[in-house]
Amino acid sequence: MDSALIPKGVKRCPTWQFVLWIGAVSGVLLWGVVAMVLIYFKGLNQTNMNNAYGFALWIWADLAVIALGGGAFFTGFLRYLVGKDELKNIVNYAVLVGFCCYVSALMILGFDIGQPLRGWFIFWHANVHSMLTEVAFCLSAYLGVLTIEYIPLILENRQINKVPFFHHLAHNMHEIMAVFAATGAFLSFFHQGSLGGVPGVLFARPFGYRTGVFVWPWTFFLFTWSAAACGPCFTIFITKLTEKIVGKKLVKDNVIELLAKISGWMLTGYIIAKIIDTVYWATVTAPSKGFAFMDFYTNNPGSIYGIWILIAEIGICGVIPAAILITDRGRKSKTALWLAVLLAIIGVCLNRWVMVLQVLAVPVLSFESWFTYFPSWQEIATTILPVALGTIVVSLSYRYLPVFPQERELNPYEPAADDVLEPETQELAEAELKPAQA
């Protein structure tokens, strides 16, 4: 039914199957929308946040998706600025996934503010010394960059590309993509870092506070670094997941392995830096404020914030994936690669979790005790909402846009009789190939 829109030479599932899939995801989306409406109309009392947990699930989700979406800027950086040409086969998808991540982040930020209609104050009345201001500016601007990077892909849809203007626009945008990628890398460096700065500058919160250079606490650099290391892992993970779902290979192994290798070395560097930072914080920064290292990990209800969390974050989800990804054998083994990217993703999410929630959970006044929190269903639903939205965007893009340049080569396909090209599309067959290669 929609075969005229599907890129030529590739096979897609039947329309009914696709509609069913989108319908199922839309169900989840709807659940999120209900929660969203509740939150917008009734206010933040719909959440389980309180005066001790001003930041909670949402801010964590923001930090996490932005870290995972870091695959877009770092892959773009490697492809356009460092010149790793093979990555052109995965950069589209990295951009697409990044785009969804950033849309999610902005959506969640929109839920999270008490007076959504005043959201623009963060730009208008900007306090340039606040890390959150920097986050808001760079995040919005970078979403603009991602949109610019995503547009040419949309324009390459078989039907849209027939319009000469769009055809040329896509081509021109590809031509100067390096400029946008550089701007994106610049913006990403700052907002990823500023997100790290958010807990890092809280000098009255000993669990989050870090010393640093000039106005930037060490967490500034650690966050950027971990996003550059783990973002590509997420890109690999989503690519592999897509391959599993659609049941075919979409990106050649050498491309994945290259990205995995770079990611592995970044992760190794990051984990070393993170360990140094943790040791310095535990032995110098925190004690100077009257806290012993173990104060942060003991005496809390149910040991939710036990020392296990640090071991899990740095050891299991940091050192292990790094060790796997830097070895040739690790990258070549399917299971090891899966394990490594999964651990890296969990590790970075865990890091963002402690840097938001544990910061607030730790009692600072000596006569207070640990604070506990569990999100309400409205918070959970609104956090899943953008994930569902992202799934739909990715599904539509995969079906109708030439996202994977290697797909045709990896999956030779003879169109069935009813799918034979109409004469007019044949004319454009060559024209279509060009932008995809650009």
């Binding site: 900007a126 340039v128 500016f137 960059v145 040329h168 081509h171 945008m173 400029v179």
Partner: protein
């Protein structure tokens, strides 16, 4: 955000921060404008070609 918002001060913080922001936005804006204009020119050139 703009020099005419009343809390604006011409200090290093504002100049570096807002300078960086406007710089990035300008590049993005100019880049997209360039692409659009060039695409329009290319497309009209192609149309002319078809007509002749």
């Amino acid at each position: 955000m703009f020099p005419f918002s009343f809390e604006w001060i011409w200090d290093a913080g504002h100049m570096v921060f807002m300078g960086g922001l406007w710089y990035a936005l300008t590049i993005m804006g100019l880049g997209v404008t360039y692409c659009i204009i060039k695409a329009a020119v290319d497309a009209s050139g192609e149309n002319d070609g078809n007509h002749h």
